[in-house]
Symmetry: D3
């Protein structure tokens, strides 16, 4: 674990995204909350938030951090759910992994709810979009 | 949580895969274990195995299962790490989510170890490859 | 921890109940999902299911059990939410504590979602209703 | 999860209470530590403290908080155990849920230790008594 | 993680021991429960049992197991606490690590309770005494 | 749990050590990474770091702390592995238990990896070496 004791406590924020790809008829069922398991989107959101809080238990060299906020947005396209996760802390190290973990576990939970009708659903393009705070300053993904 | 009390205890197995995409120079560092954080592949493997054991804590409607085995293979290509995760149980429900969780957290851990040199690294194509056991019999991904 | 190695593996089931008491205007907001925090009932249900899976971590002498099913029903009255939790296992010991933990954490989560508008909300009458399976046979609460 | 990054770090404290109701002969056994499971009160106290530390894992939208103190008092009446739990933090959000979770899990643990002799034992009146710290200032339960 | 799916489910049991060495005056305080922190022995016992249940989360390649029983005995000598931990399961793999983890965390908890009066207290001789069950049959430590 | 709300937030650091004793031929296998389980030293190190992060879940009266750093050094002698664990925080209470827990779980993990070839391996001399920070100032073990 990198020693962060010499770093300043600053407000830090990270945004991650992912995409869960399935069939258009599954997205239609999701819009109508007509899948065998109900409340799919709320369940995925809560799972993502819960996972963000446990990031340091999942990722071996992550520091435990007191999170100030985690939010997850889920937007439906014709054949996919777009996942955006934002995490914030006031701490000595960044929250990229918290945002990525939130997006990922939200996506895995979508699959758990959907897999009875589409076992081929795929979670893809899990990536950091931007981060701010800390000594290196702001960073934003290119392209 | 789906009631599985009427299902038989059978040997069940699932294989999931994912791909972590980065730059060729990062893969070269990885081959030489020359990244700022050492033992990247072992760390990712152990993180994936640990996450498989905690799947039912992460995915809200997953059943807690006694796992018989979890293994994770990591293969390097020119610009990516191919992740394959296999999970086995003797239980009343399948281990797809355990295999997918293992593959995903292994991938997130790769990113945690690599992000200082490539913050744009992306985890992609997280998907189930095959599963066996249980009433519905074997399933294998098409294409 | 009581030694259960001499007990038979049988299908076991327990039902617990609790009541979260608040003001009628809060129940009206809850019916319309118009509280400051959305999806209150789904969140409470998922929290209860999650807690059932962690019962053996919370209650010092509980055995870890593979749960076959957990479900939580929430019914609204004029000034309360009635919580019913059912847990099932195929194991060597009963699931009363799992059902009680599920009902309780569902109730605490209701309070967390409601406390901004009613800090006086009270969780009450947390109790076992019935259990079945195991050597002692069925039990049902009197009165 | 509510964004608390704009809130000040202040000393915050909350007191919660609950009552575990059983039969007078069970209370007599409890006074003499003569129940089948020993050290009932200490076990309940430790379980409550342990649960307070895990509140953010149990309650989906709770923030992880560094706790400065948790204490649990158990007082015996003729037919009940009165549970009082106090939690303190130096943080950006309150510790009501930590105090309530501590009181509740202490009560559930009492039931786990007592249920062999009184399966009808009931945990009741789980409620916040007072809280202090933060922008809204002090609050005390009426009546 | 070793694949245990081909192994039989049998009754398995392991006994581990450790010794926590401190000063005679500390042992005297412990006998009278007169240390700054009360209920030292009960707290250590419960911590050991709790840790046994979490062995597979702590030891990376351990399998999650449903434990049938865990017990911890603490005996005082003139300058030490002798710790004996026994774990049992009906499973496909042994419970040595569960017994060792229980003994160890009981010992660490003794130190946590005692360290204000003896920061030099030492946990020593953590070792397996015997195990039974499984294909290899019984094993007992020599000497 | 001791109330630490009146204590200052200061940089605190603790160093603990332990020794895992086995046979010389096992140490030779370890040097060559030729044991049945691979990557023994890395696995033990990661297990120790993971355990340090969970100290407050394992030790009943430990405060949850945001860790700034944890590191584990493993040195081989002819018949033992010397374990040194260092933990740092910026907090209101010390990190002795985090350092001791890290050293201990690293040692237990060594045993888990080695026990197939040496079930008699012993973890011994788990002790605090030094600590700094906080009101009482620095402390260093005598002899």
């Amino acid at each position: 674990m990198v020693d962060v004791s010499g770093k300043d406590v600053t407000a830090r924020r990270a945004v991650a995204a992912a995409r869960y790809v399935t069939r258009p008829d599954v997205i239609a069922l999701l819009r109508d909350d007509a899948l065998p398991k109900a409340d799919v989107l709320t369940t995925a959101r809560l799972a993502g938030i819960g996972a963000a809080k446990r990031t340091s238990e999942l990722i071996p060299l992550c520091h435990p951090l007191p999170l100030d906020a985690v939010s997850i947005d889920l937007d439906l396209t014709d054949d996919a759910v777009l996942i955006t996760a934002t995490a914030s802390t006031s701490g000595r190290t960044g929250v990229e992994m918290e945002a990525l973990t939130a997006a990922t576990v939200a996506g895995l939970t979508l699959h758990d709810m959907i897999k009875a009708v589409d076992p081929e659903g795929t979670l893809t393009d899990v990536r950091l979009l931007e981060k701010s705070g800390g000594k290196r300053g702001d960073w934003r993904r290119q392209g």
